[in-house]
C-alpha cells in the first residue's frame, strides 16, 4: 500500500512538475504546481510527518498559491506566455547532468546506515505534539527569526508593491522633488 502510494505520488508529482516547468500556459503551470504541492503533502503524511503535511497544504496551497494567483491576475497573464525559452539541448544537458550528479549524491548507499537520531521523536507523542515540543524549545530562536523574516517579507512586499515606488526620488531632480513636497 505504502509502496503503491509512494510510486503513485512520485509519478504524479514528477509529471505535474514537468508540466509546471514545460507548459506554455501560466494557468496550467500554476495549477499543476499547486497539485504537485498537494501531492507532496501526501508524501509527508505518508512519512508520518503530519504536521509538515498540514503546513505544506496551508502555506503552499493556501497562501503561496493564493499569492501567486493574485499576482497572476494582477499581471493579467491568463493566456499562453510567449517565452523565448532556452534551447532544449542546453536545458537538458545542464538539467540532465545535474540530475545525474544529484542522484549520485543522494542515492549513495552510504546514506542511511549508522545514523542514530540526535533529536529522536518522543515516544508516544503524536507528530504535531513532538514538533511542537522541539519547535518551542530547541527551535524557538529560528522560529522567532522566521517571524522576523516574515515581517521583513511583509514590509518588503508592501514597499515594493506600494504606490510610493511609482515616482523615483533617485531619478528626479532635487528641486522638483522639493516643490512637489511643498505642493502637498
Amino acid at each position: 500500500m505504502e509502496t503503491f502510494a509512494f510510486y503513485l505520488f512520485s509519478i504524479l508529482i514528477v509529471g505535474l512538475f514537468c508540466v509546471t516547468v514545460m507548459s506554455r500556459n501560466i494557468l496550467y503551470a500554476m495549477t499543476s504546481l499547486a497539485a504537485g504541492m498537494v501531492l507532496i503533502s501526501g508524501l509527508f503524511f505518508l512519512l508520518g510527518a503530519d504536521f509538515l503535511g498540514v503546513v505544506q497544504l496551508i502555506v503552499y496551497v493556501g497562501a503561496v498559491m493564493a499569492l501567486y494567483a493574485f499576482g497572476m491576475m494582477f499581471f493579467d497573464a491568463t493566456g499562453t506566455v510567449k517565452e523565448n525559452n532556452t534551447p532544449a539541448t542546453t536545458v537538458f544537458l545542464l538539467g540532465g547532468l545535474s540530475a545525474v550528479v544529484l542522484v549520485v549524491i543522494f542515492a549513495a548507499p552510504a546514506i542511511g546506515g549508522n545514523v542514530h537520531a540526535l533529536y529522536p521523536t518522543p515516544e508516544g507523542a503524536t507528530n504535531p505534539q513532538a514538533v511542537g515540543l522541539v519547535l518551542f524549545t530547541k527551535y524557538l530562536i529560528p522560529f522567532e527569526v522566521a517571524a522576523v523574516m516574515l515581517l521583513v517579507a511583509m514590509i518588503a512586499g508592501i514597499i515594493l508593491a506600494g504606490k510610493k515606488m511609482d515616482k523615483s526620488l533617485s531619478r528626479m531632480k532635487d528641486e522638483s522633488a522639493v516643490s512637489e513636497k511643498d505642493v502637498k
Binding site: 532556452t86 542546453t90 545542464l94 538539467g95 547532468l97 545535474s98 550528479v101
Partner: protein, 630 residues
C-alpha cells in the same frame, strides 16, 4: 727631491688648469706664456731629477692612497728611476718646445686658451704615465693621454664630416673618436693584464710584481705579457690597431708633433721596456713583438711611399719607427729601444713642427704635390726638416744613425736575419719617402704658385724654439755610450756577441748604403720637378698603398657598419619586437582574456542561472577528478 718630483709632475697640471680658466674667453697671451713657462719649470725639474738619478739613484715618493678595496691598495706613487728620468726629460723637453711653438702656430685660433689647457693636461697625463710606480697609475696616464689626444685631435670639432675620398680622416671629430675607441679596445687588454697581475701577485706595484715574476708559471706570464702588449699595441698604433694614428693628423700640427710622434705613441714601447723583467722571461712573446714590430715597420713605410699628404707621410714614418722600437724591445734590447725612442722623439717632433711651418705658410694645404721650391722662402724650416729627415734615415752622424743601426745590429745578433733584412729594407724605404717629401716640398718646381699661395717663414721665436730639437737631432746619438751606461743600471745590458761585433762595420756600411740609396732615388726622381706616372698611379699596388691597404674601408665595412646595423636590429627588431613586445603581449593577453571572459556577463539572468547550474556540475567534475587522483 720629493719637491722636484712634484714640481715636474704638477707644473703642467697647474698650467692646464690656469689655461682652462680662460678656456671660453678669447685668446689671451697669458695662457700661452704661463703654460710654456710652467712646462719649462717642469723640464728643468726633470733635468735636475735626471741628474739626481745619475748621481744618487732613483727617487720614490708616495703622494696618497688612491683606491683601497679588499686587499687592493693602490697609491698615487711615483718612481723616478733611470728609464723614467729619461722619459721625463724627453717628454718635458719636447713639450716645452711644442708649447712655445704653439704660441706662434695657434696665434690666430679662436681656441687658443683651450688649446694650451689641453696640451698641458696631456703633458701631465704623460708624466703620470711614465712616473707612476704601479700599473694602475700607469693606466691613469694611459687613459689620460688618450683623452687629451681625443680632445686635441678633435680640436677643430666644428669641421664637417666629409667622405673618405675628400679627406681620408673624414673629420677631426671622427678621427678623435676613432683614436679614442681604438685605444679603448687595447686598454681592455691592458686592464685584463692588470687583473691577471693583481689576482696572482696581490699587488700592482712594479717592484712587487717584478719580484714575483720568477715564481709565476710560464703560461701565466705569457698571458700577462700578451694582454699588456695588447694595451701597448693600441697606444703605439701597432697593426691592426694602427689606423687611428694617420687619421689623428687632423689635429693641429703641434699636437701631432708632441702626441702622435714624440710621446704618447711611444707609451707602448715604454710599457714593454718598463715590464722588461716580465718580457725577458717570456722570449717567445718578445719574439712575436719583434715580428709584429718589423711587420709594422715595413707596412707603414710602404704606405708612406705613395702618400701625398705631408703630415700623413710623417705619421706613417712614426708608425714605422715605432715598429723598430718594438723590434728592439721584443728582441730584448730594451735600452736600444729606449734610445731610439728618445732620439726619434727629437727628430720626429722637429719634423712635425717643420711640417707645421710649411702648413702655416701654405694656409693649411697638406698636399706635397702642390708645394715645391719652398726652401727659398722658408730657409730655416728647410734646414730643420732636412736635418730631421737625415736623422730619420740614419745618416751619420745624426741621432738616427746611432739608434737605428743599433737596432739592426741587435736583429742581426739575434740571428733573426729575416727581421734584420726587413728592417734593413725599411731603412731604404724610409730614406726614400722622407726625401721624397723633402724634395717635393722644398726643392723642385714652385708648384704652389699655380694654386695662388704666398708662403712665408714663421716667426723668429718659433724657429728659435725649434732649435733645441734640431741640435738634439744632430748630437743626441753621440751620447750613446753614456746613455747605455745610465739606463742599463736598470735595464738589462744588451751585449752583441763577438761574431756580430766583427760584423758591425759591415752592417753599418750596408745600412748606410741603402739609406743613401733611398735618398739618391728620391733625389733623382723629385729634385727637379714632380714626376707623376699615371700608369703607376693607376696600378693595383699603388692604389692598394694609397688606400692604406683598404684597411680603413675594411674596418668600416666589416666592423663599424655591421655593428651599427646590428645595433639597429638589436633595438628595433629584438628590443622592440621581441623583448618589449613580449611584455606588452602578456599585458595584452591578460586584457584580451578579460574581454573574452566578460562575455559570460551577458546581462541576461537566464544565462546567469545556467552558469550557476553549470558551476555546480563543473565543481562536481572537479571533485571527481580530485577523488580519482587522491
Amino acid at each position: 727631491m720629493e719637491s722636484l718630483v712634484y714640481t715636474a709632475l704638477f707644473a703642467p697640471l697647474v698650467g692646464s688648469l690656469f689655461a682652462a680658466l680662460f678656456g671660453m674667453k678669447p685668446k689671451s697671451l697669458w695662457t700661452g706664456t704661463v703654460t710654456s713657462l710652467l712646462l719649462f719649470v717642469s723640464f728643468v725639474a726633470s733635468v735636475l731629477l735626471l741628474q739626481h738619478v745619475m748621481e744618487v739613484g732613483p727617487v720614490h715618493v708616495t703622494l696618497m692612497d688612491w683606491i683601497v678595496a679588499g686587499d687592493m691598495r693602490i697609491p698615487f706613487g711615483f718612481n723616478v728611476d733611470q728609464v723614467t728620468a729619461v722619459m721625463m726629460a724627453v717628454v718635458t723637453l719636447v713639450s716645452t718646445v711644442v708649447h712655445v711653438y704653439s704660441n706662434g702656430y695657434m696665434e690666430h685660433d679662436k681656441g687658443f686658451n683651450r688649446f694650451f689647457s689641453y696640451l698641458s693636461a696631456f703633458v701631465f697625463s704623460m708624466l703620470v704615465l711614465v712616473m707612476s710606480d704601479n700599473f694602475l697609475g700607469l693606466f691613469i696616464g694611459w687613459e689620460g693621454v688618450g683623452v687629451c689626444s681625443w680632445l686635441l685631435i678633435g680640436f677643430w670639432y666644428h669641421k664637417e664630416d666629409v667622405t673618405r675620398d675628400v679627406n681620408p680622416s673624414i673629420s677631426p671629430s671622427w678621427a678623435a673618436n676613432e683614436a679614442f675607441i681604438m685605444n679603448r679596445i687595447a686598454d681592455l687588454g691592458m686592464l685584463v693584464g692588470i687583473f691577471l697581475i693583481y689576482w696572482n701577485v696581490g699587488s700592482l706595484q712594479y717592484d712587487e710584481v717584478f719580484a714575483a715574476v720568477p715564481q709565476m708559471s710560464h703560461t701565466l706570464l705569457v698571458a700577462i705579457g700578451i694582454f699588456l702588449f695588447i694595451g701597448a699595441m693600441g697606444k703605439s698604433a701597432q697593426f691592426p690597431l694602427h689606423t687611428w694614428l694617420a687619421d689623428a693628423m687632423e689635429g693641429p700640427t703641434p699636437v701631432s708633433a708632441l702626441i702622435h710622434a714624440a710621446t704618447m705613441v711611444t707609451a707602448g714601447v715604454y710599457l714593454v721596456i718598463r715590464a722588461h723583467p716580465l718580457y725577458s722571461s717570456i722570449p717567445e712573446v718578445g719574439y712575436f713583438i719583434a715580428l709584429l714590430g718589423t711587420f709594422v715597420a715595413i707596412f707603414a713605410a710602404s704606405m708612406a711611399l705613395v702618400n701625398r699628404d705631408l703630415k700623413r707621410i710623417i705619421a706613417y714614418s712614426t708608425l714605422s719607427q715605432l715598429g723598430y722600437m718594438f723590434a728592439a724591445a721584443g728582441l730584448g734590447a730594451y735600452w736600444v729601444a729606449l734610445f731610439h725612442l728618445a732620439a726619434h722623439a727629437f727628430f720626429k717632433a722637429l719634423l712635425f713642427l717643420g711640417a707645421g711651418n710649411v702648413m702655416h705658410a701654405m694656409h693649411d694645404e697638406l698636399d706635397i704635390f702642390k708645394m715645391g721650391g719652398l726652401k727659398k722662402v722658408m730657409r730655416w724650416t728647410y734646414i730643420y726638416m732636412g736635418v730631421a729627415s737625415l736623422a730619420l734615415c740614419g745618416i751619420w752622424p745624426l741621432a738616427g744613425f746611432y739608434s737605428k743601426d743599433t737596432i739592426l745590429e741587435v736583429a742581426f745578433n739575434e740571428h733573426t736575419y729575416g727581421i734584420w733584412f726587413v728592417l734593413w729594407l725599411t731603412a731604404g724605404l724610409t730614406a726614400f719617402y722622407s726625401f721624397r717629401l723633402v724634395f717635393l716640398t722644398f726643392w723642385s718646381d714652385e708648384r704652389y704658385k699655380k694654386y695662388g699661395f704666398h708662403p712665408h717663414e714663421v716667426q723668429k721665436y718659433v724657429l728659435w724654439a725649434m732649435a733645441p730639437l734640431g741640435i738634439l737631432a744632430v748630437v743626441f746619438g753621440w751620447w750613446k755610450e753614456e746613455f747605455m751606461e745610465f739606463v742599463t743600471q736598470l735595464l738589462p745590458a744588451y751585449e752583441v756577441s763577438e761574431h756580430t761585433h766583427h760584423m758591425v762595420p759591415i752592417l753599418i756600411v750596408v745600412t748606410s748604403a741603402i739609406a743613401i740609396g733611398g735618398i739618391v732615388v728620391a733625389y733623382v726622381l723629385y729634385h727637379k720637378r714632380l714626376r707623376r706616372n699615371p700608369k703607376i698611379e693607376a696600378s693595383l699596388p699603388y692604389r692598394v698603398l694609397s688606400n692604406q691597404y683598404y684597411i680603413p674601408i675594411l674596418y668600416e665595412k666589416a666592423i663599424s657598419k655591421p655593428y651599427a646595423e646590428l645595433a639597429d636590429i638589436a633595438w628595433k627588431e629584438i628590443d622592440m619586437q621581441v623583448v618589449d613586445a613580449t611584455v606588452d603581449g602578456i599585458a595584452k593577453l591578460v586584457e584580451e582574456s578579460g574581454d573574452e571572459t566578460r562575455k559570460m556577463q551577458t546581462g541576461n539572468l537566464s544565462d546567469y542561472l545556467k552558469w550557476m547550474a553549470a558551476g555546480a556540475i563543473i565543481l562536481a567534475v572537479l571533485a571527481i577528478v580530485a577523488v580519482v587522483k587522491s
